[in-house]
Symmetry: C2
Subunit: 129 residues, 2 copies
DNA sequence: TAACTGTTATACTATGAATATAACAGTTAG
DNA sequence: CTAACTGTTATATTCATAGTATAACAGTTA
């Protein structure tokens, strides 16, 4: 999978890595059981430190997106990513709330906001980003 | 307006301040022309440093939510917050995308995600948080 | 044995968040 | 005029996080 980092961004590199891999899973480009590069090779390919990659992998493991075996290496979770529970939805609402609030202040209607979210969803249904 | 900060949160204090004031505007509790406390008094009330409040105010000013006059003090922008332009919507999409991607991985349907956004919108239409 | 794997430990630099003081310049009430 | 406020700026310090650098350990595999 192609990894494209923005070293000028405010978003930390390891967080960009996490997001891009999740994005790859959402786009079905990465499927259950698929292998990911080792921390050293990926770090070397991108030109960053191995610890930065490891930090991203650890977070992805923690959140159930990947499995890390001593022997098999790093793979997308074979049994699929854990489905959203109430706790996840609660945190999701907590994260989305500020964006909704600002949008309301800027007179973005509920309908327009919803259409915007749908348009984002569509970029994943198509099968390519 | 009531300010409630979480000092244990990962979200910086000044960012929480920004979000809560925007939230107050979205809830119509803060209306165009309304006064906000001085940096010193608000900092004193909350028990934080004046620079932390100032940082939040500067960001709110930069984004068009408030005006700061030497004499009149700090007021919610009298002519209203600048409406969303294409650039804002572009940035909004860029921020929402990772949440959509993770939700797709966790099998949150587009319909469910949309309903979730609508439920957030409703908490503002009611007039209280 | 050699080359790989994830993992851990340590140390360093850089940046941002938050605080602490202090001062400057302007406004306003007594 | 003085005193108390206003926003603003400057400087310094502490602390946490991001990122890098190097090294080593333990297990796997060709």
């Amino acid at each position: 999978m192609l990894i494209n980092l923005d070293f000028e961004s405010d978003e930390p590199i390891y967080q960009q890595l996490v997001h891009q891999i999740i994005d790859g899973i959402a786009r079905k480009e990465l499927q259950p059981g698929d292998s990911l590069p080792s921390v050293r090779s990926l770090a070397s390919d991108i030109g960053i430190n191995l610890h930065t990659v490891n930090k991203a992998y650890q977070q992805l493991k923690q959140e159930g997106f990947i499995q890390i075996h001593r022997q098999k290496g790093v793979v997308i979770h074979p049994e699929g990513v854990p489905k959203a529970d109430e706790d996840y939805k609660k945190r999701l609402i907590h994260h989305l709330r500020p964006y909704v609030a600002e949008s309301i202040c800027r007179e973005v209607s509920e309908a327009e906001f919803v259409e915007l979210c749908k348009s984002i969803y569509k970029t994943y249904q198509g099968g390519h980003s």
